[in-house]
């Protein structure tokens, strides 16, 4: 069966994540490599409460529901590429 695998990236838009570098993550959609173009859904999320654990995990993002701590665009793309390769296998 040929279904287009789509991935969901949710970026925390809470205050802490935003000032700790989360603002930049909103540009993820423009930075996706060609192999992932059109297959990724990017949306925002209200604070997940990760900032209140005292462990400095922000900014946070979710890739298919899995938490990425100290997220950067590169980190999210790497995660997406790994998942994508695994899905193709």
């Amino acid at each position: 069966m040929l279904t287009k695998p789509t991935y969901k990236v949710q970026i925390c838009c809470g205050t802490m994540c935003h000032i700790m570098g989360g603002a930049e993550l909103h540009l993820l959609h423009d930075r996706l490599p060609d192999s992932l173009k059109g297959k990724v859904d990017v949306e925002g999320l209200t604070c997940m409460g990760k900032c209140n654990t005292g462990k400095n995990e922000h900014p946070c993002a979710l890739v298919n529901g899995e938490v990425i701590e100290n997220a950067s665009i590169q980190k999210i793309i790497t995660k997406l590429l790994t998942t994508h390769t695994n899905d193709l296998l």
């Binding site: 809470g14 205050t15 989360g22 603002a23 959609h29 949306e43 925002g44 604070c47």
Partner: protein
């Protein structure tokens, strides 16, 4: 040419007595001298009226206090004082300004006037008119300085200026064309028309004040989670049942409301603005934003802005626009402290919400004359 306005107008709201006083004054001459006369008159008139001093004393005092013009040997400035209380009783005091216009149901009404002669120091008697009326819903009060009524003087079409009749016809036409025209829009319209009369260059200082009596536009602004968790449901219920615009400010607060009302939050990331987190959407809520950063920006916009005109379209600007387009604002401030914001190592300073909210409320009240009620949860 001196680029200082010789008209002055000032409004003040007396919260305890639920009164609004507004004064318009036109000083003699032009430039700095006129400005000082007008400003002195306005502030004196405001103070005395606020203290409920009798009119005669106020008028007398103003005339005695104003400095005497060295060339003309008189001290002079006109004034109109309007004092409205919470029951809609309006007291109008007029001295030498174009008459205050009251528009009701398509007509201009003339309340009964009482004239009093006040003795001036230079023995020129001054006729001060005093009138009282009961305001009704949808009434409009228009106060102008003579720069408006005399605009266009000397032109072929209006040799003696626009005149009161021209102004009245224009107001009537504007209101007929747009029945719910706001005070701000009408005042701006009158000013720009007067400017056109003067071929886009005013020959005299022109000021226009409009008051529109209408059902207050209400808004609720909820920010911050309640201190006690069991108040969450109450907060959500109050927002949901509120009649008017609804603004929710804060990620956790949005989540509480989303949970209690079982409505999803959706954040669209297509509008990249690095300074503030994006706005979110929820059914039934007019604006959903992040908390403390947005509130901080709102406060600084309100502080630096003296007009009601906002150009940009960021989350904070959208909130300011909603706030300024409302008359009666209820702020539901949650008092729970966000521990994550207390870290001294943060790259930006995060203020305590309660302080920012207090500041916003004070600006809206003093500068924009809004009715504010803050409730701490």
């Amino acid at each position: 040419m001196q680029n200082v306005c010789g008209d002055a107008c000032e409004s003040r709201k007396l919260k305890e007595e639920d009164r609004i006083i507004t004064v318009l004054s036109d000083g003699l001459g032009s430039g700095v001298k006129a400005n000082i006369l007008a400003t002195m008159t306005t502030s004196m008139a405001l103070q005395f009226t606020a203290k409920n001093d009798p009119l005669e004393r106020t008028a007398n005092f103003i005339m005695k206090t104003l400095p005497i013009d060295s060339t003309r040997q008189i001290s002079y400035s006109t004034f109109s004082i309007l004092d409205i209380n919470c029951f809609g009783d309006a007291h109008i005091v007029e001295y030498d300004n174009p008459p205050v216009l009251i528009y009701r149901d398509g007509e201009f009404i003339n309340p009964d006037q009482l004239s009093q002669t006040v003795n001036r120091t230079d023995d020129i008697p001054a006729n001060v008119h005093y009138s009282t009326l009961k305001l009704q819903k949808e009434d409009r009060i228009i106060m102008v300085s003579d720069g408006i009524t005399q605009s266009g003087m000397g032109h072929v079409r209006t040799p003696f200026g626009w005149g009161l009749d021209g102004l009245k016809a224009f107001i009537k036409e504007s209101i007929t064309n747009q029945t719910n025209i706001s005070a701000k829009q009408l005042a701006r319209k009158i000013i720009s028309r007067a400017k056109v009369n003067d071929a886009n260059h005013f020959k005299d200082d022109a000021t226009c004040q409009v008051i529109y009596c209408r059902e207050p536009r209400k808004l609720v602004l909820a920010s911050g989670p309640p201190y006690h968790k069991n108040c969450d449901a109450m907060l959500a219920e109050r927002i949901d049942s509120f009649q008017g615009k609804k603004v929710v400010c804060g990620g956790t607060t949005s989540k509480i409301i989303s949970r209690e009302l079982k409505r999803d939050i959706h954040i669209e990331l297509n509008n990249y603005q690095p300074d503030l987190p994006p706005v979110a959407e929820m059914e039934g809520i007019d604006l959903l934003t992040e908390g403390i950063l947005t509130l901080g920006k709102v406060s600084s916009i309100l502080e630096s802005n003296s007009t009601n005109y906002i150009k940009e379209d960021g989350p904070a600007e959208q909130m300011v626009r909603l706030l300024l387009d409302s008359d009666s604002i209820l702020i539901l401030a949650g008092t729970q402290i966000n521990n994550a914001h207390q870290d001294p190592n943060l790259p930006v300073e995060l203020e305590i919400r309660r302080n920012v909210i207090k500041k916003i409320a004070a600006i809206l009240e003093d500068k924009f004359l809004k009715n504010i009620e803050i409730e701490y949860l």
